[in-house]
Amino acid sequence: MEAEELSRALAPALGDRLTAVEPFPGTAGRVRFRPDGALDVFRRIHELGFTHLSTVGGIDWVDHREVFYVAWSDALKQYVFLSTDLPADSPHIESATSVWPSADWHERETWEFVGITFDHHPDLRHLLMPDGYAFHPLLRSFKLHEPEELEVKVRHV
């Protein structure tokens, strides 16, 4: 499947929730969408046969944050790359767990490290960090701490 074909398959159902579909190396295409239409995009992509969610991740671009999804189709033997931009002051997006249950841990990790909140996630808590950890350590605003400083903050939370 090429990007044009993907665009034709998505555009009628999604309308203006779809921002762009562009070629992306190694995948069927890179789908950009508006964050408020995320769940419709996920459902449509799932209907096209991309039934396995391989990765969820986030990027801190300082002025905004990007969240991306990589889904795999067993029938097409192809990935598809979804991404959208979120405002830096309140980055939140609908959880993909209702479409791909495997998004659970990926979204927990993304929330933990990049601070993107996933609405209606069944269990949005720490995955790799201890409970009560006070930072989102992959944000650009996170500064490396002196060991003692970090220790006190972690212990007293």
């Binding site: 790799l128 960090m129 201890p130 930072f135 490396l144 060991p147 970090l150 220790e151």
Partner: protein, 209 residues
């Protein structure tokens, strides 16, 4: 043994808090009886058995003169049968494992790795300790019976190593448990680990209290 019947489960025995002299230790339940919860066994152990054992040992030591007779025997036995609980968290565990292979054969010093903290008196932390695993390490340390020692093996366990300022790493395991011997190296060779164990044996030999 048949005379010691337990009228009620151990729960109520612990709550009765009768004077220690008169209360008999409860028997473990026979097959078919309701089992004693693990928490209750722990509470009994802490409230009755450990103080009783300490009292008996203290009386024995006071009677025999502890620094002259009993203590050297204990130290001799302890330093020749160090049973380590190992924390294979990173590459130091590979060196730890090879130290128990045929070439270095750490068992000739009486060092036998065990799988349960209840059987161990030495904790060897070999690897990078993260904050996520920190409270589990403290829990297992507290489960080890006294007397107990800790060896921090490698730079990560000693001071955090190259990850010292990282967001997730404990900068040295001595922030969590008291450490007796530090072994430098990244990772230390098995000879260095054996040297650390021999130095710990020297510490135990000189132990007075």
């Amino acid at each position: 043994m048949g005379g010691l019947t337990m009228a009620a489960p151990a729960v109520s025995t612990a709550k009765a808090s009768a004077p220690v002299e008169t209360s008999l230790p409860p028997e473990l339940p026979m097959a078919g009886e309701p089992a004693v919860p693990f928490v209750e066994i722990e509470a009994l152990r802490a409230q009755q058995f450990i103080p009783a054992a300490k009292e008996a040992l203290g009386a024995l030591l006071a009677e025999q003169g502890q620094s002259k007779l009993i203590r050297p025997v204990f130290n001799w036995a302890g330093r020749n049968s160090l049973f380590p609980l190992h924390w294979g968290l990173a590459c130091c565990a590979i060196e730890f494992a090879s130290a128990f292979g045929a070439r270095w054969d750490a068992e000739r010093f009486g060092v036998v790795p065990r799988s349960s903290p209840r059987q161990c008196d030495l904790m060897i932390v070999n690897g990078t300790v993260t904050w996520k695993v920190a409270h589990k390490l403290v829990t297992l340390y507290e489960q080890m019976p006294e007397p107990k020692w800790v060896i921090a093996m490698g730079n990560c366990a000693t001071g955090g190593g190259p990850f010292r300022t990282a967001y997730s790493v404990v900068p040295g395991v001595d922030k969590l448990v008291p450490v007796d011997v530090y072994i430098a190296g990244c990772p230390p060779r098995p000879e260095a680990m054996l040297d650390g164990i021999l130095r710990l044996e020297q510490l135990i030999r000189d132990r007075k209290e």
